[in-house]
């Protein structure tokens, strides 16, 4: 008998992890590689967390999470998306958005069901699907489509075994968003193949199109086949609090709650109290941060344009995804040389799927000064490569 699980040892090591190990050796490098806000959690939210500790609220909450928080989430979704969720049966408070991904797969997958994963996208869909005994089916998103998922691409990937479609928008790492029309166009294919949708909307508050974020659950007929995953990490700069939520049909949420109850018990109590404050009074903070990200997004796009690096214009999250195919190197070679020669750490696009080859993910959740300095070095680097 072997010590370790074949399924676990067979998982590919994360591309990010590999790069992290190289970067952590170089203390003086400037990193544009972080997938989290540069803001600290707004003080009034932290203060509520502290206050809850002072009041001795240090016990477990119910498995599903504090009722008051679930009610606030229901009200928030009603206000932002115009959709109704029953806080009692259709909302589960999770440890970050990522727990919701894992729970949905484990609650729904039978061996060899297929999970459709559009890439480039966040690193955990594929391994979580494998751990749940599903077969991940990768859909390679195209820059010419603005890294949006088209109905044709979805149709081509569907088989009788297709069960769950992952919709990772606004997207990490590309910054792509799906419009209401894009989402409506997917609905017939989703219905035809009787798919369920994992809509990962963790960056939903951070879009720069001038229009509110659109969700698949707003499309008629889609809410009853979707698990909407969101959380507090990106919108309220609360990554370290580890708090998210999953919303969806009662039958699925109740099975997800069962796994959550055995594996986790409940999400951190302090974080839940802080999150109530975030939802009640955090709108101006979100708006302030969104405005600031948008300014930096414009600046980074301009600086990339000045160095002649082609870059699709992202409309969400806090990443840009420039193309480096002209240099004839792999993304990993490019990133490694950039780090060694210019001491700038940028994550290679391949960390988010093989089809990220030829791209880099630049996070602009950094101060303007730091962005300018790091991109100046990138500019020098590409000039030297072209010389």
């Amino acid at each position: 008998m072997t010590v370790l699980s074949d399924k676990t040892t067979g998982l590919k090591p994360s591309g990010i992890r590999k790069f992290f190990d190289i970067v952590s050796e170089m203390k003086d490098a400037i990193s544009l590689g972080v997938g989290e806000p540069d803001f600290e959690t707004p003080w009034h939210i932290r203060d509520e967390g502290i206050y809850s500790l002072e009041k001795g609220r240090t016990f477990y909450t119910s498995n599903s999470g504090l009722m008051e928080l679930r009610e606030e989430i229901a009200a928030h979704l009603k206000k932002t998306l115009g959709v109704e969720y029953d806080p009692k049966h259709e909302i589960l408070i999770t440890v970050g958005g990522s727990e919701g991904i894992d729970l949905m797969f484990r609650a729904m997958i039978n061996r060899d069901d297929e999970v459709l994963v559009p890439q480039p996208s966040y690193v955990s869909y594929e391994p979580c699907a494998i751990l749940a005994d599903a077969k991940p089916v990768i859909i390679e998103l195209k820059e010419r489509n603005g890294f949006r998922l088209t109905p044709e691409e979805l149709e081509a990937a569907c088989t009788p075994k297709s069960k769950i479609l992952v919709l990772p928008y606004p997207n990490n790492p590309t910054g792509a968003v799906m419009t209401e029309e894009d989402l409506k166009a997917l609905a017939p294919v989703i219905e035809k193949h009787d798919l369920y949708v994992l809509s990962d909307e963790i960056y939903g508050a951070l879009t720069y199109t001038g229009k509110p974020h659109a969700s698949i659950v707003q499309v008629p007929g889609m809410q009853e086949r979707t698990i909407l995953v969101d959380g507090f990490s990106k919108a309220y700069a609360m990554t370290g609090w580890r708090l998210g939520y999953a919303c969806g049909p009662k039958e699925i949420i109740s099975q997800m709650t069962k796994i959550h109850q055995y594996a986790i018990m409940c999400a951190p109590t302090t974080s839940q109290y802080a999150a109530i404050e975030a939802l009640k009074n955090g709108d101006p903070d979100v708006e302030m941060m969104r405005t600031s990200y948008n300014e930096r997004r414009r600046l980074v796009l301009q600086l990339l344009q000045e160095m002649g690096l082609p870059c699709f214009e992202p409309e969400g999250a806090f990443y840009v995804f420039p193309c480096i195919k002209e240099f004839g190197m792999t993304s990993e070679e490019f990133s490694t040389r950039l780090l060694e020669e210019k001491k700038v750490a940028i994550v290679p696009g391949t960390a988010f799927g093989d089809c990220g080859e030829g791209y880099l993910r630049i996070s602009y959740a950094y101060s303007v000064e730091k962005l300018r300095k790091a991109l100046q070095r990138l500019h020098e680097f590409v000039d030297e490569l072209r010389a």
Binding site: S14, I16, F19, F20, V23, S24, A29, S31, G33, V34, G35, E36, D38, Y122, V123, S124, N172, T291, E295, R296, R298, L299, Q302, A345, V347, A351, V368
Partner: protein, 163 residues
């Protein structure tokens, strides 16, 4: 005053060295537009200057800052304005505010030594006709000034690379 004006002010209030070109890119407008807006707001006195935040405590140059609460007799037809002007014209005075509460004016003052500040209060301020009383508070430590936390070093608490 439109929303772009407001963003320009918020950004340069934190970083006055940012140039018009960069502001224009960040706000999605033209450089000329930003320059016109800056000039207009300077002329209107909305932008009153471009200063530098200095933590003098970190240098070996001695500086003393004091807050002085001042009670005055308002003058007929002039209110507090005339006495405020007499006070703010001293170059060592940093700021003068008319305030509500037990005192009328709040004056902040910078000097080289405690003695210099004390002399200013006793010789110049207290001897003005309309001044009834003063109360001087020396600042022992500045924790935060103009929205900037003085002690905290700039550091990024995040990991170098995260997904």
């Amino acid at each position: 005053m439109d929303s772009t004006d407001e963003r320009i002010l918020s950004i340069i209030e934190k970083n006055s060295r940012i140039d018009a070109k960069e502001l224009a890119v960040m706000l999605g407008t033209g450089e000329i537009d930003v320059m016109n807006k800056l000039q207009r707001m300077e002329e209107e006195g909305v932008i009153c200057g471009y200063h530098t935040m200095i933590d003098w405590d970190k240098t070996d140059i001695e500086k003393v800052t004091a807050l002085i609460e001042v009670r005055v007799t308002p003058q007929r037809g002039k209110g507090f304005d005339e006495i405020a002007e007499r006070i703010y014209k001293y170059p060592e005075v940093n700021s003068v505010y008319l305030i509500s509460g037990g005192f009328d004016l709040l004056v902040t003052l910078e000097g080289k030594t405690l003695k210099e500040v004390s002399m200013f209060v006793s010789d110049k301020l207290s001897t003005l006709d309309t001044i009834i009383a003063t109360s001087t508070h020396f600042i022992l430590k500045k924790y935060k000034d103009h929205g900037t936390i003085m002690e905290k070093p700039e550091e990024d608490g995040r990991e170098m690379i995260t997904p």
